[in-house]
């Protein structure tokens, strides 16, 4: 019981800390947390690991990013992305960095009409980046004091969906996969 209270307290403190540090114009890239956590002083081998999160897949023409304008949007974005674009419930891991990191890069807003509105509106792309450019970008993100690496847990995603009745919203109800749906319904006490 005490441990659970302690865990909840830590989560609250962590969220408050994130809010204090948030910079109003930031970008998010889906990532693996462990690749961006500093091991020593941002040595090259760690940047080399991190750049794996920026590399394009074969056939991909641009680097996808999401732009955030308000604090708290990362939670909403993570939930909508996970619930609609991932079929197995999983944590949403990301690296967030201030827009200033991208100075000198061409960054275009590129809507994705088939995605939920929030994702479509926030979606941006760096067109056709070279490997060298991606490595430099990884270095910049890595060295940015405003960089934040985070994980929105499965439970937070489900809680958000319950709190905001996402299963009932017209835009999302048919986009949420059945495994997520089962978790949300269970949380709501629906047999």
């Amino acid at each position: 019981m005490f441990q659970r209270l302690l865990t909840r307290l830590k989560r609250t403190l962590c969220l408050q800390q994130q809010r204090k540090e948030f910079q109003p114009d930031s970008f998010v890239r889906l990532a693996k947390v462990q690749r961006w956590q500093h091991e020593g002083n941002g040595n090259t081998s760690t940047v080399e690991k991190a750049v794996a999160d920026l590399k394009l897949r074969p056939g991909e023409k641009a680097l996808s990013l999401y732009r955030l304008r308000k604090e708290g949007e990362i939670g909403e974005l993570a939930c909508v992305y996970s619930l609609t674009l991932r079929d197995n419930p999983a944590h949403f891991e990301y690296v967030l960095f201030p827009a200033s990191v991208l100075s000198g890069y061409r960054v275009d807003p590129v809507s994705v009409p088939e995605h939920p509105r929030l994702l479509s509106e926030r979606h941006h792309e760096i067109p056709d980046p070279s490997e060298e450019e991606l490595l430099r970008l990884a270095e910049r993100i890595f060295g940015s004091p405003g960089k934040k690496v985070g994980r929105i847990t499965r439970r937070q995603i489900v809680d958000f969906a319950v709190q905001h009745s996402l299963l009932e919203t017209e835009e999302l109800r048919d986009r949420i996969g059945h495994t997520w749906r089962k978790l949300i319904e269970k949380k709501k006490g629906i047999p």
Binding site: N88, A90, E93, E114, H115, H178
Partner: protein, 231 residues
Amino acid sequence: MAVALAQDNPSGNFLQPFLLPPALRDLIGMPSEQSTTTVEVPSPLSDVPKPSGTTIEDTLTRERGFEVAYHALADRHGANATPAGRTMSRKVWLDVGADAAKWLINRLRAEQHPETIFGIAETITELGTVALPIVLAELERYEAKQEYAVLVEALAWMTPPQQPLLMSRIAGVIDRYLASPHIDCQVAAAQLTRILNNDDAARTRLEVAKRRAGPRLREEIEDLLNERFGE
């Protein structure tokens, strides 16, 4: 999926329809006639599963088909923007069955792209009972490996198997991965307790692990206990 194919292979000429499953033939718009090639030549692709009685040409054709479908695994655009569309896209793999699971596991070992890794895991989950024994055999071959945590989690979302032997092998994988020093392995193992239909077996494992867990695993276990037992 179709978009990715058009980009990767505008002509589609190299994709002959020899052993491609019907869904992949539809996908690439190829006629459905069968090859008459019968010459047996050893396959140079030692890592790629090869069904018995196939030719090197068949194997290469199938390998190319897999490559095309593989690049679409992480695609969340167009038809793949909805769960139903993604399920349709994965039919390519479901039609192939066990060999698809082996091929995907083989690629997972070197894959770095996070969304492709998710795509592999989701496809393995959807392959379900076809993939389960293959994944278990792979997990049992080695000590817990960090890059296989995603495979362990993929099993967590499958329908629990009926066979006690499979269930006991799953329990063995849970124990092995809970004992791993890697947090991703431990978390994946805790998630895999979802598939245990014996509440006591799941609870015992989670509570033992919780005693020596760090903060992240502890939180994960508390969420699982809360979800399953309302604690």
